[in-house]
């Protein structure tokens, strides 16, 4: 007999690589994205007047000419909205009020009958600025000499785990004080000290941001957008505009790539604010690709100092790290990246003595936000190179060094938390094996050199301690199942695993399950945000609970109807069966209409509707001075990547020939989709390693288009990426699962950097490792002649 909780039907949908539930509509072109929705002739178009200066006071805004332009329906400025907005720190206005803080800061918005008229109106808006000196370097920004960008920092509403320092540009200072670093240095046989400057990068979803807002006569707001976070948007926009959350409805169809930039609130609030002034008419705002580069959340720049030491046996003894995050003009989201980097600042290593200072610093750069990895790719980029250097300094093989030091089950982490079960060592061993670690392959041509590199990673979901999920499982007349969730499908496959989990927990075939789309805050159950690689785990727990709830209702009904014990019943393949009476009944009809009792004695049951929710309750606060506490995070996903590269000595071009990715996902609910994440993440990591940086000159972006912001194309990727799934179960994950989406790109930069070193013996430093950078480094080192 099966247990009452774990439904086992064959074939079991968990661990089976079922086809994506959204694939068919996406290949025939019928899948709806936010810009595909039709709003009819009443639609108005919005354009935004943006600052061309990185830092200035607004002296005067004259919108009269714009207002007078025929076809213009509304012009909005910061005058109209005094409310702050922001996720962890409410430090921005929807439209700038007194000053602008980056190139692209929204100053005014227009709604007009056509996009062209809106554009013309924007050009007619006159803004008089008083330019102010800017901050373009986070380390300088943190210094007392820097001009103050947010004099009101002390007044902003802030989450209780963020520590701003009013009177400075530091919007969060996270500290780790574990052990005694100063005493430890003396015991070190080798110490490595390095500085890295990691550039800003853009998320570059292929779908640019788009939002359409409509406010009805009663002031109820409806927003259709490309959104990873319909509920967070509902909440933050409502708060900023002084509305009830229940009066803001966010509808979010498929997202054409997010990677973090469609989390929290960014341009959506602009559309709503403009729509407030033209009640009854939908207002659409879509960003051009250029605006996307200028104004969408960026991955923050980072200036990182690492100091680490080990004893002669290669045991890590101490780390002292200082991170200056280039948070940009507003750090409402970035402050938590600073914190995440702080509590993970040892990297995936067991280090007895750690001192970390992680600063989030206001600058006059684009606004930092969450990007795939949430600070971890930036931090690991330097950290994992230092680990390599330290290993070599004590004449140890970098893989061996990592084997000794990497985090293992039961270790005490940098925050004092105890490490849960983890398969990091296995990831390391298998990645090294797969790349042929220790074997040097001959180059493909005489003017080329080959090398191999490896890097480890860890990352925890970074979120408020109590970020929650919920789900509904409703059954239909024909026995099919509608799963409602608030977590978004952004390409990672969340709807497919939602269907798999519901099918498994309920006991129905996978193709009976539908996921209710689009997400709609009026009808979908609550989900904090689709970020942090938390859906499989958190939303998965909610779905499983909801499906089990529905299952219980069905079994209770049938038990009553058949006068049997619920323990003797099971649901298999869409039928309720009794192990005792060997009776069976299809779910069809009974899940809506119930079951008649014998002899016309009435009915049992009724429409079956399961509900489930999940919220971690065990995450504790961390001491503000030491960063110590019993449980900093819910869990860590760990993994390793290894690469083989070839460097062209003629040009400096680095080609990644092979990649290996090994991650401990707890349990692969859909192994092929896990592999797809590992591959896609690897390539995104490769792209940031070789090509990407936002080139900012005094706050002005020099490469705001695909012409000069290059991302990896189909011809830049290795022909093969070997993916290795390690499964050490997560104790509170559905079937033991934990997330993988972000992790897949975390170790790629340092793995490639380490391989470049192996090939040419040069530490090129910070990414991107462009042909030019590598060539000039070879020139400096005398490897090639001028």
């Amino acid at each position: 007999m099966t247990s009452q909780i774990e439904a086992t039907s064959a074939p079991h949908p968990i661990g089976d690589s079922v086809r994506r539930v959204d694939a068919r509509e996406k290949v025939v072109g019928s899948a709806m994205f936010a810009d595909d929705l039709q709003f009819g002739a009443g639609l108005l178009y919005a354009r935004i007047k943006r600052s061309h200066l990185p830092h200035a006071l607004i002296k005067r805004i004259d919108t009269s000419k714009a207002r007078a332009l025929p076809g213009v329906k509304a012009v909005v400025t910061g005058e109209d909205y005094a409310g702050h907005i922001g996720l962890y720190l409410q430090d921005r206005f929807i439209f700038c009020r007194d000053r602008v803080r980056y190139v692209g800061d929204p100053v005014a918005g227009v709604a007009a009958v056509s996009e062209e008229i809106a554009e013309q109106a924007v050009e007619l808006i006159e803004v008089e600025y008083e330019p102010l000196p800017g901050v373009f370097d986070p380390e300088y920004g943190a210094s007392p000499e820097a001009p103050l960008l947010h004099p009101d920092l002390g007044q902003y509403e802030v989450a209780n785990f963020i520590f701003p320092e009013p009177g400075t540009n530091i919007s969060n200072h996270f500290r780790i004080r574990k052990g005694d670093v100063d005493a430890a240095w003396a015991q070190c046989a080798a110490i490595v000290e390095r500085k890295y400057r990691i550039p800003h990068v853009q998320h570059v979803p292929i779908e640019p941001h788009v939002a359409t807002a409509r406010v009805d006569e009663n002031g109820k707001v409806r927003l259709w957008g490309s959104s990873q976070s319909p509920f967070a948007q509902r909440n933050l926009i409502a708060k900023s505009l002084g509305l009830s959350q229940s009066d803001v409805q966010v509808i979010a169809p498929y997202v054409g790539g997010g990677f973090g930039c469609k989390a929290g609130v960014s341009m959506e609030a602009l559309a709503v604010a403009i729509a407030m002034k033209v009640k009854g008419r939908p207002v659409k705002l879509r960003l051009t690709r250029e605006e996307e580069f200028y104004t969408a959340f960026v991955r923050q720049g980072l200036v990182a100092y690492f100091k680490m030491g080990c004893d002669a046996q290669g045991r890590l003894l101490a780390m002292e790290n200082r991170f200056y995050w280039d948070g940009g003009a507003y750090t409402e989201y970035g402050v938590n990246i600073t914190r995440a980097a702080g509590y993970s600042s040892s990297g995936p290593y067991n280090v007895p003595n750690v001192k970390t200072d992680s600063y989030c610093v206001y600058t006059n750069h684009p606004v930092g936000g969450p990007m795939r990895g949430f600070g971890m790719p930036e931090m690991h980029a330097g950290l994992e190179q230092c680990i390599d250097e330290l290993a070599l300094a004590v004449h140890m093989d970098p893989v061996q060094f990592r084997k000794i030091n990497c985090i293992k089950t039961g270790d005490t982490l940098v925050t004092g938390m105890t490490m849960h079960a983890t398969g990091l060592s296995e990831c390391l061993t298998r990645a090294a094996e797969a790349i042929g670690w220790g074997r040097k392959e001959p180059p493909s041509a005489p003017n080329k050199r080959r090398g191999k590199g490896i890097a480890l990673m860890w990352k925890a979901p970074a979120m408020p301690p109590n970020a929650g999920s919920s789900a509904k499982v409703a059954l239909n007349e024909d026995g099919t199942v509608t799963v409602s969730v608030g977590g978004q499908e952004i390409g990672q496959g969340s709807f497919t695993i939602a269907a798999q989990m519901a099918a498994a927990a309920l006991g129905v075939p996978i193709d009976w399950v539908r996921v209710a789309t689009p997400l709609d805050t009026n009808y979908s159950p609550y989900e904090w945000q689709t970020v942090a690689s938390r859906l499989t785990w958190s939303m998965g727990n909610a779905i499983t609970a909801a499906a089990r709830d529905a299952r219980r209702q069905i079994l209770e009904m049938v038990a009553k109807a058949w006068n049997e014990n619920i323990e003797d019943l099971d649901i298999i393949d869409g039928k309720v069966i009794s192990y005792k009476s060997e009776e069976a009944i299809s779910l069809k009809n009974i899940v809506i209409y119930g079951i008649p009792l014998p002899n016309d004695q009435g009915w049992v049951g009724g429409p079956v509707l399961g509900r489930g929710s999940f919220m971690p309750t065990y995450v504790t606060g961390l001491d503000a001075e030491t960063g110590q506490g019993p449980r900093a995070v819910v869990h860590y996903t760990t993994g390793a990547q290894a690469v083989e590269v070839e460097v062209d000595m003629d040009t400096g071009r680095v080609r990644v020939l092979r990649g290996v990715a090994a991650f401990d996902v707890g349990k692969a609910i859909n192994p092929e989709m896990v592999r797809a994440q590992m591959e896609g993440g690897f390539v995104q990591g490769l792209s940031t390693a070789l090509f990407e940086s936002l080139q900012l000159k005094e706050g002005v972006l020099q490469n705001p288009s695909f012409v000069d912001y290059r991302i990896a194309t189909s011809t830049d990727v290795p022909p093969d990426i070997e993916t290795i799934i390690v499964e050490v179960a997560q104790d509170d994950g559905p079937w033991g699962a934990r997330g993988i989406g972000e992790h897949a790109m975390v170790p790629t930069i340092p793995a490639i950097a380490n391989a470049i070193y192996d090939a040419i013996g040069i530490r090129v430093g910070a990414p991107p490792y462009t042909s030019e950078k590598v060539y000039l480094a070879m020139l400096e080192a005398g490897l090639v002649e001028e």
Binding site: E115, T288, E290, E291, L701, P704, D708, T713, L776
Partner: protein
């Protein structure tokens, strides 16, 4: 691209004249506010970016023989202005006699862009980065130009005046480009160094073309053209002279590459620094010469 790039194309009128003369006259009458349109792949980008403000785009793709691609062993190759790059690449005549041209086209953007992009458009756009221009220069391209005064010819070698600037006057329409028959056994190489493997604009582009030529002391004629390292696409006569008068060997190629390096005057921009470009001109010219040498059967 600016932050104020238009979301869509700004307003203009699309004009489709019936004859070349009508087109030339229209363009001349609307000097400064009309321009010829081929594939539009340069024009549309620049209009969206607010760089071009033309009131009229005059489609010249279908006029007279602009659609023609023809080869004659005596007269050589003629490419109508409207012939797109994919067609050039796919032509067996081009592959057989002007493989360098096909190679240069292949380096441009993507397949779908090349369904529209033309060689003549690439030339008239006069960007120093134009990928097909080097090949057209070393292959001895001559443009057929139709102006208000009728037809004339413009050799490519004297066509460029500066970035985006050419000898063309209002009313001038390039109708085709012609190439003389290729010398027997001639071979060429285009090395494009972009940031990506394919599809990027060039940081540096090096075209080398060579063939056996008994009239020169070395027995060979070599030419080189450089992209993205000067205000216009750049021919390097010093290289040609050096390799005409010195015995062909590795040292001669090395020296010739130094001459190419000396001839260029690159700038720093988002795609690369002047220093890197200079270095790449040397290493890639040397490499291109060696590759051409190999193709010549040595």
């Amino acid at each position: 691209m600016s932050i104020n790039a238009h979301p869509e194309l700004p307003e203009f009128d699309y004009v489709r004249p019936a004859t070349l003369m009508e087109a030339s006259r229209f363009l001349a009458e609307h000097a400064g506010e009309a321009r010829p349109l081929l594939g539009g792949t340069d024009i549309f980008v620049r209009m969206r970016d607010g760089f071009y403000h033309d009131k009229y785009l005059v489609d010249v793709k279908h006029l007279d023989s602009t659609d023609e691609l023809s080869y004659d062993p005596q007269r050589g190759l003629k490419l109508g202005a409207g012939v797109n790059m994919n067609r050039v690449m796919a032509s067996p005549m081009v592959q057989a006699h002007y493989a360098l041209l096909a190679e240069a086209c292949r380096s441009v953007a993507s397949y779908q862009l090349r369904t529209r992009a033309t060689i003549v458009g690439n030339i008239c756009n006069a960007s120093p980065a134009g990928d097909t221009i080097g090949a057209c220069l070393v292959l001895g391209g001559v443009l057929n130009v139709h102006g208000v005064g009728g037809y004339r010819q413009e050799p490519l070698a004297t066509f460029f005046r500066g970035p985006g600037k050419t000898v063309l006057q209002p009313g001038d329409i390039v109708t085709s480009i012609e190439f003389p028959p290729a010398p027997a056994g001639a071979a060429g190489v285009y090395i494009k160094l972009g940031r990506n493997t394919w599809s990027d604009l060039s940081i540096v582009g090096v075209t080398v073309y060579g063939y056996a030529d008994a009239g020169r002391a070395s027995g060979y004629r070599f030419q080189a053209a450089l992209a993205s390292v000067a205000p216009t696409p750049l021919l390097v006569p010093a290289l040609e002279e050096h390799l005409a008068s010195h015995p062909i060997n590795a040292e001669a190629f090395r020296q010739a590459a130094r001459l190419a390096q000396a001839a260029c005057s690159p700038i720093d921009d988002v795609r690369g620094s002047a220093r890197y470009r200079k270095a790449m001109v040397r290493t890639l010219t040397e490499k291109a010469l060696q590759m051409t040498w190999k193709k010549l059967g040595n």
